[in-house]
Subunit: 264 residues, 2 copies
């Protein structure tokens, strides 16, 4: 899906290929830089650029917080200016929470991520600018961007830390590349029961309930049976679970008994 | 959009109403609990529950990292067991990265968030369980959930910290309630130019270029004009920018000149 590779790739290979360059402009805390690398790698991004990191480079605090993402940190490139950091890129996004006195397209992260995927497909190299922790991006850096990304957040409490901002953008990018169903039933060790086995159980249950006088009076029986079948139908039972329920019905029919070792 | 309020609400009011309860089961670090409250409030969620926090409650480390989200922390409720923490909820989700030997629907965050919004609309109270930092949720807690939420992440580096996991789920929930265009052109102080003003500028530019002999030979002129107009068309110019460009053309036509104070 990503990049120039036209062959079918696995999720894993695919996710690690391409994707935006993350560019931190004048980041202040090394710890945040390290946490950014983790948020990136969580989402398959590996290319980090730093413009004038405040505490110099390399930075031991960044290494300490990068943990398993140290490879991203070690491959980070350092630049003197934002202009140099974006020089080889075809498309640049600037993340900012603020409305600027500037005429510029502003996109939500999901939309920007979709655009990035299309740029990936046409081999256009993309980068995303993130400003320093306190001040955010300077207008001179925002001008270098084609589009501003603004994350819609609670207007009364909208400040994200640097690594969280990188996480959300990277997450949106990664999600568009994964091939995971929206929702699926994960099965344990047993397959789903086939419908014939379900009906077999329903009929045994209903026979037992007929014997006990539960499905009474007769004119109410059809509706009671439908309601009961619906309960179990909604449970998406496995083979094993149907067996368990057969055992439950069988045992309950025997009524309360003194526990016996010979009982199966 | 959310909850039982049928009147039209603003984005702000709407976003703060309803939404899932965040339930941290046996959280370990107070700092993480504080950061969870910030991730929640960023996304308009305010109801936090804690099951047996390791370091007791209240926790000064949580207060220190909650910063502006201290109101969420102060309203947090503490429970002895997960069963008690979910007792008043209609729907429960469990977040876990692991495939469990358990038959249970597994959803991606975006899908789960859509479900939560529909539950909101029918006044069903929803909660999301997050396990302790290291071990994740115990199977006995996962059983209490209707659906597992699993975040698709780089399989080689999939561990998120607690606050980041809460951030992603809360973010997906919040995004479904905001009414923000996918992308829009944010204007500065000047409105967009109307097409008549654009054509007026195009014609002045082309007249100047005709005079200079740039639009030559005549058979190539139509295509050159179209290409030039396209450049400016794509820029979505404002009134002010069109005026600036008129000035640029006018000044360039005068050719290189010694700077003069009288020059306008």
């Amino acid at each position: 899906m990503a990049g120039t590779d036209s062959t079918q790739t696995t999720l894993d290979e695919n996710s690690i290929t391409g994707g935006p360059v993350i560019i931190l402009v004048k980041p202040q805390l090394g710890e945040n830089i390290g946490m950014v690398t983790r948020a990136m790698l969580n989402n398959g991004l590996t290319e980090l650029r730093l413009v004038k990191p405040r505490d110099g480079w390399p930075n031991p605090a960044a290494e300490a917080s990068a943990a398993g993402a140290i490879e991203v940190l070690e491959n980070a490139k350092v630049f003197e200016t934002t202009q140099e950091a974006v020089a080889d890129l075809h498309k640049v996004y600037a993340t900012t929470a603020r409305t600027r006195d500037m005429t510029k397209p502003v996109a939500v992260p999901h939309h920007a991520a979709k655009e990035m995927r299309t740029f990936d497909q046409s081999s256009q190299k993309v980068g995303v600018l993130f400003g320093p922790e306190k001040a955010g991006l300077h207008n001179d850096d925002v001008v270098l961007a084609d589009t501003v990304i603004s994350v819609p957040l609670n207007p009364k409490f909208s400040s994200l830390n640097l690594a969280q901002a990188v996480l959300l953008i990277s997450y949106e990018w990664y999600q568009l590349g994964v091939n995971v169903p929206d929702q699926e039933l994960i099965l344990g060790s047993s397959p789903l029961a086939i419908k014939g086995e379900l009906v077999n159980f329903y009929e045994r249950l209903e026979a037992a309930l007929d014997e006990s006088g539960f499905l009474w009076p007769p004119e109410k029986r059809p509706n009671m049976v439908r309601n009961l079948r619906n309960i179990f139908q909604r449970a998406h039972l496995t083979d094993q679970e149907v067996n368990t329920l057969h055992g439950v019905v069988k045992t309950l029919r025997l009524g309360p008994r003194v526990q016996s070792k010979s009982k199966k």
